[in-house]
Symmetry: C2
């Protein structure tokens, strides 16, 4: 599973810089990478010849032309290859096609009727064929799974699939002939946001996802801190309020019990007897319904506490809230922000908090980014 372009470390850094930070002139690249202009000429030449980079036609609009010879921005040929990303949930598989820049050019999803590894691999192969038929030459596949993943190929353990040591990467590669990268879904989303999203260019960056469960990822020095063990289940034992609610999903007062979508729905159902959807609960809270308001406000305080803890202890420059459940911020953002402030030093810089609603195709896109990192640029990872 080596990258098909043998790039030297210096060439790789050039390619990544252009890929992540858009079109850049050689002079600008020299400045950013602390290399001489001469070196940049040398490094870019083979990259242009191999077709990975092009000299962008546009010099950047008429208005901003300065004196002197105009710079010649270099850009990645984003469409030269496409990548596939998949996210596997308990009952559905979501797939996307992306460019090198991780722009989504196609999507697809299919129900998952069995958790048998071979059947799942077959479904992935089928979806690959369908997506590949509509787009040029996929260069590789990334797969995101909730659970522990080893060596970017083997699903060590995944509770919701009932898997243990399933060599998913190999199974899919055998059926598709394409290189495959398997990774934990949260890890993939974090990498994607680090390269192309909210964490772009940051040194320290944290991601908290709210959805069926609570996910967390930390990026330091530009690379993700490996999970080791915790993974998906971590929020179930992350106690925020020892007197908080008890739900089937986690320990009393845990992040999962307070914040995850199933737990919030459970709390409302237990109190009112009605099974209400998540969005409806948020709408109810916004409209002032007492029960929904109580649960949502409590969730907002928990979220504020959690974000403040992350800010205090991991000291990221930015925290991204992602997942299907971040609508909470729209309804109770002020409570969240107030709670954060009360848990921080008054002179501390305000937490840079960004919110991004993500659906399952965004998770799939994260997996595709993993494939880009590993396959194109030869990042072995960890």
């Amino acid at each position: 599973m080596t990258s098909w372009l043998p790039l030297s470390p210096a060439e790789r850094s050039v390619a990544i810089e252009v890929l992540v930070h858009g079109p850049l002139s050689r002079t600008e690249l020299a400045r950013r990478l602390r290399l001489s202009q001469g070196s940049l000429t040398r490094l870019t030449k083979p990259l242009i010849e191999s077709g990975l980079l092009v000299e962008a036609a546009e010099t950047g609009g008429a208005g901003e032309s300065r004196q002197g010879r105009p710079s010649q921005p270099l850009d990645i040929v984003a469409e030269s290859r496409s990548f596939l990303g998949f996210k596997i949930t308990a009952d559905r598989v979501y797939g996307v096609v992306t460019t090198l820049r991780s722009d989504v050019t196609g999507r697809l999803d299919r129900p998952l009727t069995t958790h048998d590894p071979d059947a799942v691999a077959a479904l992935l192969a089928e979806m690959t064929a369908e997506l590949a038929g509509r787009h040029p030459a996929p260069a590789g596949i990334g797969i995101g799974v909730g659970g522990r993943v080893r060596d970017r190929t083997v699903v060590g353990e995944s509770a919701f699939l009932g898997w243990r040591d399933v060599p998913l990467g190999t199974l899919v590669r055998e059926r598709t002939g394409l290189p495959v990268v398997v990774e934990n879904d949260v890890a993939a989303l974090v990498e994607a946001e680090t390269w192309f999203g909210a964490g772009r260019g940051l040194d320290r960056f944290a991601v908290l996802t709210i959805g069926a469960g609570i996910g967390y990822g930390l990026v330091l020095g530009g690379s993700r801190v490996p999970y080791d063990e915790e993974d998906r289940g971590f929020g179930r034992h992350w106690i925020i309020d020892p007197y908080g609610p008890l739900t089937p999903e986690g320990a009393r007062g845990s992040a999962t019990s307070l914040l995850s979508i199933p737990s919030i729905r459970y709390q409302v159902r237990a109190a009112t007897g009605r099974d209400v959807g998540y969005e409806e609960i948020l709408a109810g809270a916004a409209a002032g319904e007492p029960m929904a308001s109580r649960v949502v406000e409590e969730a907002a305080r928990a979220l504020g506490t959690l974000v403040a803890q992350i800010a205090n202890l991991a000291m990221p420059q930015k925290i991204l809230l992602a997942g299907e459940g971040v609508g909470l911020m729209d309804v109770a953002g002020n409570t969240v922000r107030d709670t954060i402030r009360s848990h921080r030093h008054p002179l501390a810089a305000p937490v840079d908090l960004e919110t991004k609603v993500s659906d399952f195709h965004d998770w799939a896109r994260g997996a595709a980014v993993l494939a880009i990192q590993v396959l194109v640029l030869g990042r072995t990872g960890e």
Copy 2:
């Protein structure tokens, strides 16, 4: 304030490896630094000629000789230079002399009767002269101060000294003629433990100090995460239990209110009317005195919660508890460990927790390590 040895990056990495990880043969160094043996010969030659390294006489005991030519371990000449480290507290200045390896070869402390910057600098110069008289050629001075420090020379703000933008580094250098490095005291302790203490060789490492206040430092990828703003006061707003005690030192239920020595003494004094020393309170708790037990147990639960939060969110490989207040662990270590466990995923690896009682001379030693890093090895820091 440049290092007096102009070391190339490769030479520096060799020097640091030998300094931190003891005597190492050239072959072993080549393995660790991923260089060829030939390069090691080249790199070590000037270091040996300059006197920084020597070929250790001992080949390592008779028992462990293997076949083949015996290796020739290289060692730092730890005594070739000495370094001074100072820790400034509100009423006393502590100083140490250390070797290059940061072994303490002398110590001294003096009362501090005024906080006037010039007077403090004069006292430091006086102590420098006294320590230098007893030891060979100090190569530099490190100073640790509670508060914010800029550029390793200027104390930006220090509440307990009433300082604001005091160029302490310059003041002391003018009086001693020696290069001076000023740094936040917690930062200095963290660096010292990273290089020579509990965090040696680790990639991710956290330090929590318990004393007059609560200090926290995080090391990732071998280098310390810069504090930006928080610093010393951070524990005062780090709420652990919203229903916890209210003390003069911090917000209700904050880490400082629950854990710092003054707050624990305050709680006991408020309840019993007697002013009791910290060690005495711990002894009382061990003996089963109800009031002391209650306060100490509550502190232990708070500590466990805090450690678990650090472990969950910053994911260090090891956490060091340091400071004057870690005696708490001897009395209530089980409570701390139980609390940690209850806040962690059951399958998560147990937290690697180390305890190290530190007195003020240990803080001074930390400052000396900063001087070693900057002056000998030319680490500009941050």
